[in-house]
């Protein structure tokens, strides 16, 4: 399982990658493994505003609907519409081609409140052992 060191993580299993004032967002390797085959992704429109820890979309597996939570507040400047036809990219490449949205951050320092890769790895281990 992968926990890239250059990313920040939420407890809802999203990752965030800072690019200047912009933040690229997706779901983690652990999340895609737990979900199983992703068959549907619903993303916000470009221009939509998102608020930190509010839902901004949905990712669906065969059996379940999962909310997506925004790691930072801001405005959506890009959404990965390729996922409409190829939702399986979320499973195949959760940190790469499976990226979901790019947010122009209103308060980019919100990233500091998120987990580091090391902290997220511990968090995942705890979640797995308590099942």
């Amino acid at each position: 399982m992968e926990f890239p060191a250059n990313l920040r993580y939420t407890k809802e299993h999203e990752w965030a990658r800072q690019e200047g004032n912009r933040v690229v967002v997706g779901i983690t390797d652990y999340a895609q493994k737990e979900l199983g085959d992703v068959v549907f992704v619903e993303l916000p429109e470009v221009g939509a505003t998102v608020a930190v820890m509010d839902t901004f979309g949905v990712v669906e597996s065969v059996k379940a609907v999962s909310d997506l939570y925004a790691p930072v507040s801001g405005t959506v400047v890009d959404a990965n519409i390729v996922l409409e036809d190829q939702p399986e990219l979320v499973n195949a490449s959760p940190y790469g081609q499976g990226w979901m949205v790019v947010v122009e951050a209103a308060h980019v320092e919100e990233l500091q409140q998120l987990l580091t890769a090391a902290e997220y790895q511990v968090y995942v281990a705890q979640e797995k052992s308590s099942r």
Partner: protein, 369 residues
């Protein structure tokens, strides 16, 4: 493992863990939802074969001189024409005509019947049965002593034949035979829940692991994969088979969920007959329909269904169909103006997404006729 989350386990639990299955709680049981991926397992059943552990299901035997009368009174379908080792799909209803369970009935002998019931309803069904058994009949709950494996797919017969001395080619759909599989006594029926040709193999629980392993080995050359409950659900929905507890429950009657064909109102007295006869005469108010989404979105249980801006019912089952690549579902709706070809809409997170009503099944069935 916390004790309060542990469900009952079939004799194959250790095997599932060994195969790396993802486990879930289902109807009080700890069962595999998938081994590799739901989509891969689903597709393998349609193209080659899949092996399912369905040992969590229940087996109730009714025997004695009064057995046929008891089964006739307890169930909706007519058991009189059943030959020995012939099965029929049927159901239990309460006096109000509400569905208690769907099941299959197998005649083992003139005075012995085997009822195969849903896992979540074993205790409920058994207590109901012994309450209404009548004279000259006894009921035995054999569920814990038995294991049930389902082998489904176009290669199922080829695979099972390698392990069974008895020829399977001439076994008709919804008939069974007694044979030995890997040397162990088995009741093999040509039945299933996937829409493909296949068999359900009933053996003693003590032989479950040996028979599973033998089937997996015999099937390896034919692409056999173990298949979990996740794909079992997508397969049955594509074939338009109903799932008790989701598509129907005690608040639904057989006439409105499309089970009128197994409800033999003229066969004589049975539990629920009077209420169902009255319901039929008054006109069935709701009906079950199937639909394919016309725009992006996946229907899920309880999503509202609309026509012309009016809510007419709700989704009972829905998924992304692996075979069709489109989202499909079933819904129980007020039977006013909805028919095959009608456009309805499904409320998916407060957005009305169009869908078209289509005939059954969603995917052609390949059961051996």
């Amino acid at each position: 493992m916390r004790a309060d989350t542990e469900g009952k386990r079939t004799p194959l639990y250790a095997m599932h863990c060994q195969l790396g299955a993802r486990l879930i709680q289902f109807g009080g049981w700890e069962m595999p939802v998938s081994y590799s991926s739901i989509t891969e397992e689903h597709q393998r059943v349609r193209t080659h074969a899949g092996l399912f552990d369905v040992s969590h299901m229940g087996e109730i035997e009714i025997s004695g001189p009064g057995a046929e009368a008891a089964v006739q009174y307890l169930t909706l379908n007519d058991v009189r024409p059943l030959q020995t080792h012939q099965l029929q799909y049927s159901a239990l209803c309460n006096e109000a005509g509400g569905l208690l369970d769907d099941l299959t009935v197998c005649r083992l002998a003139s005075d012995r019947f085997l009822l195969i019931v849903n896992a979540a309803n074993i205790d409920k069904d058994f207590h109901w049965i012994i309450t209404y058994l009548g004279p000259g009949a006894r009921a035995d709950n054999c569920s814990d002593a038995k294991a049930l494996l389902a082998l489904q797919g176009p290669e199922a017969e080829t695979i099972l034949q390698r392990l069974s001395a008895t020829p399977l080619g001439a076994l008709p759909y919804y008939h069974a035979l007694m044979t030995r599989v890997e040397g162990h006594a088995a009741l093999v029926s040509r039945t299933g829940y996937t829409g493909e040709d296949g068999f359900e193999v009933l053996i003693n629980a003590a032989h479950a692991v040996v028979v599973w392993q033998a089937l997996m080995e015999a099937g390896q050359a034919y692409g056999l994969l173990p298949v979990g409950l996740g794909a079992r659900d997508t397969l049955r929905l594509e074939a338009r088979y109903l799932l008790y507890g989701q598509d129907m429950d005690e608040t639904t009657n057989p006439l409105e969920v499309g089970l009128g064909w197994i409800t033999k109102l003229d066969k004589g007295e049975f539990l629920g007959r009077d209420a169902l006869t009255r319901l039929k005469a008054a006109g069935v108010r709701r009906r079950m329909l199937g639909f394919i989404m016309q725009d992006r979105g996946i229907p899920r249980a309880h999503y509202p269904v609309m026509q012309d801006g009016q809510v007419i019912g709700e989704v009972t089952s829905g998924t992304m169909s692996p075979t069709l690549g489109q989202a499909i579902g079933t819904a129980l709706v007020r039977s006013t103006s909805v028919q095959t070809g009608s456009t309805i809409s499904i409320d998916i997170r407060h957005k009305a997404v169009p869908a078209q009503v289509v005939p059954s099944p969603f995917v052609p069935r390949h059961v051996k006729r």
